[in-house]
Amino acid sequence: MSMNTQGRPTAPTSTSVSDIETVSGSRGLLQAEGLIFEIGTSETTGVDLPAPQNRTGRLGGVARKVATGLPGLSEPEMVRHYMRLSQRNYAIDLGFFPLGSCTMKHNPRLNEKMARLPGFGDIHPMQPQATVQGALELIDELATWLKTLTNMPFVAMSPKAGAHGELAGMLAIRQALIARGEGETRKRVLVPASAHGTNPATAVQCGFIVDEIRADARGRVDMDDLKAKLEKSDDIAGIMLTNPNTCGLFETDIKEIADLIHDAGGYFYCDGANFNAIVGRVRPGDLGVDAMHINLHKTFSTPHGGGGPGSGPTVLSEALAPYAPVPFVVKNEDGVYSLVEDMDGEASESFGRMVAFHGQMGMFVRALAYILSHGADGLKQVAEDAVLNANYIAAKLKHVMTPAFEGYCMHEALFSDAFTADGIETLDIAKALIDEGYHPMTMYFPLVVHGAMLIEPTETESKATLDQFCASLESIARRAAQGDETLKGAPYLAPARRLDETRAARKPVLKWTAPASDTVAAE
């Protein structure tokens, strides 16, 4: 051991760390942290409020009887609690997040800064419209971009997320059918087997019946099956189709599909979750689409926030625009913006109101900042780089993994588990990626591919990142092909090992309850 003159060691000695236990439960930088209910007390608070006047109230006796008993933490404890928990999360700011169908791209910090301007973050949805002209102008400006990029005449801005946008589109279709006097007869909605689960769930929420269509050997809609389903057409309400589809492929027959649906008297709902592959290069309005939601939290980079909030503006064709939900923003001849909130005048045919207030304004600001930063030229480059990155991954891994379909992909590369040895599953490969420092790809989706592994790199990853990732995944894939049993135990290096989901579901524990001894003590 090297030492300096005071006897302090200056070079490390090698010791195996695997068996080291700590008294604290912490592991170096990874600090142990309990639940707030185990740390705080209901007498602690981290806010200093003015003293009440203790004046006579006007509650009329409608008062809470039992206290919440919720613990409070002082500010330093609170900050440390969430900081420590944050260290147990993977995030796009930390590393590569190739989650297929989710478009985990970089979230620019400028967008956060803009959303926090008091003129956007600190305005009330019901304050007089004369005092929020800049907010209405922003919504109109974003709407113009979305309409132009899609070549669609109208956009409903209020849907709160992708699935909510699907609801908007399908409710517009429902209303159009009612206006045609066919609301009761046209109930059948065609949905490909490869669709996101939200599609069939949304159709049912709108009172439709789902009829599943098959995928063909190329991963596209089986045109023979589609035509067979359309032979009887007087009950057809429409089709819900993702394009590019969930296999990461462009639907080659999309225009023919649109024509067939329209000829059958139905409408074409396009799930726009994968718009990132074609933004700036292909306009869905040119493909015969009647409605399409746009996930601002995917294509336009508003942060996913650990599961929302999202935002799902939904573009509508001329045929569906009259039925759009209220409210919406219009620009009057005098240049003043106003909100159409009531179902009369130009909104007299509207299907109604989906939500309180006007939509996800905070997401609108972020999305517009993103869009202006890229411009028409940059957005085209976004799509092209996203597609290039996916095809690069596909090309680098096709020799060791099994591509689900032949040919080039769009923005995501899809593999099946055919290359793995018996006993090794897609799940094992995903968990092994965690040990390599990556977020796993989307697993077991789409359902039409066995053991599906869906990899979406997005355009914000460098070639060096992709090369490193491919080297890791190639190594794991070879181990999977050889039946390396150690994969079954992965991850070994994450903050937690594999979790018992069966146990969680069998006897759900959905909130913290005080241990029995505490309850006795409190009584």
């Binding site: 926030g305 930063s373 480059q381 070639k463 979790l499 959905l510």
Partner: protein, 447 residues
Amino acid sequence: MRYLPLTDDDRKAMLKVIGAKGVDDFYTDVPESARLGGKVAGLPDHQGEMAVERHLSKLAAKNRSASSGPFFVGAGAYKHHIPASVDMVIQRSEFLTTYTPYQPEIAQGTLQTLFEFQTQVAALTAMDVANASMYDGSTACAEAAVMACRVTRRKKVILSGGLHPHYAAATKLLCEAQGLEVVHLAVAVDGEMALADAVDDQTACVIGQSPNIFGTVTDLSGVADAAHEKKALFVSVFTEAVALGLVTPPGEMGADIAVGEGQSIGVPLGFGGPYVGLFACTEKLVRQMPGRLCGETVDADGKRGFVLTLSTREQHIRRDKATSNICTNSGLCALAFTAHMTLLGDKGLKGLALLNHEAACDLADALEAVPGVEILTPRFFNEFAFRTPMNAEAVLAMLDEAGVVGGVRASRLFPAESMGDVIICAATECTTPEDIEAYAAALKEIV
């Protein structure tokens, strides 16, 4: 482009590995007539950070922020103080830029906060269990109505006349799309108890709100009893979560489902969104709940951990048989809510609620002293309706000129009712005695 790391050399090298001539090769599946020759026409090119910031700052400057003067607008969204540490927490990259926690080994941070959130919401509403959040209060209300119909296998939903009209509209829309009947009782400042008389053997649920849209607080235990007698469910709605620190919560009134808006705790006004819907229910209804749930379990080493659970209710597993089509929830706003609630604790929540109530009482006293003004709300928390001797729209416009944003006119919320002289206004802990003085003085001047 500052957000795109690939260089032209990278692109060339990658195309070579792929064996493609150019990116156009990847788009040959696109029908020829839909291929654009170049970029989309009619849109400007990219801009630097400075230019974008300048443009958006200009738009922001055209809006009057709630903090810039006396401000009394409520009606479902409330101006509350948000501690600086709350915004710091939600801007942590590890929370902000992560996905739904489908890979629990590397998402224990998000999952533990959701578990804590669920526990807090259950305690706040005095209900057994809560989910991991909904889009907002109005969509939570709509989901509660269809859930009640699923549970009771009945098709009739009754809404009180004091329910926030946007909540009523969202609920009506979803229910009617599913072939369910919605009965909306007459709009009334103090009419929540009418639900008790309206419930019948066909009723799936009655939906009442306290504090309601006019600010009226009501003990709805009688409504719950009447509903239960007919084997219907009682859905208890709130739009002001801070109120539950002081007024009777849904669980104490016998609610089967409690839904509401959580914006007041940790989430900025933000012109109406994103917000955070709170959804809680009794233990026996948990498997019929919409939305995500986080549950406790153990990992392979036996250590405590958390996972998303009971997902067999959800669309990605059940598809057309799912309890709801909801996929995304409002994760980051739920984090803001739980972080703020963690700072408050029971003690802080009570104190905050009391400040709100006292500010509203002071405001009512001051406005009541203005000749011709009549307070319509008999019992309130931090919001009430009052009648002016003039048209409310004109009054609000004149108040605006005096620098006071005085509230919402009832006619904007209820265009079909003859409520042209009614204003709904709210006070919170942010309201100062000077704000109240300015409001009363300006109002006195006008009427």
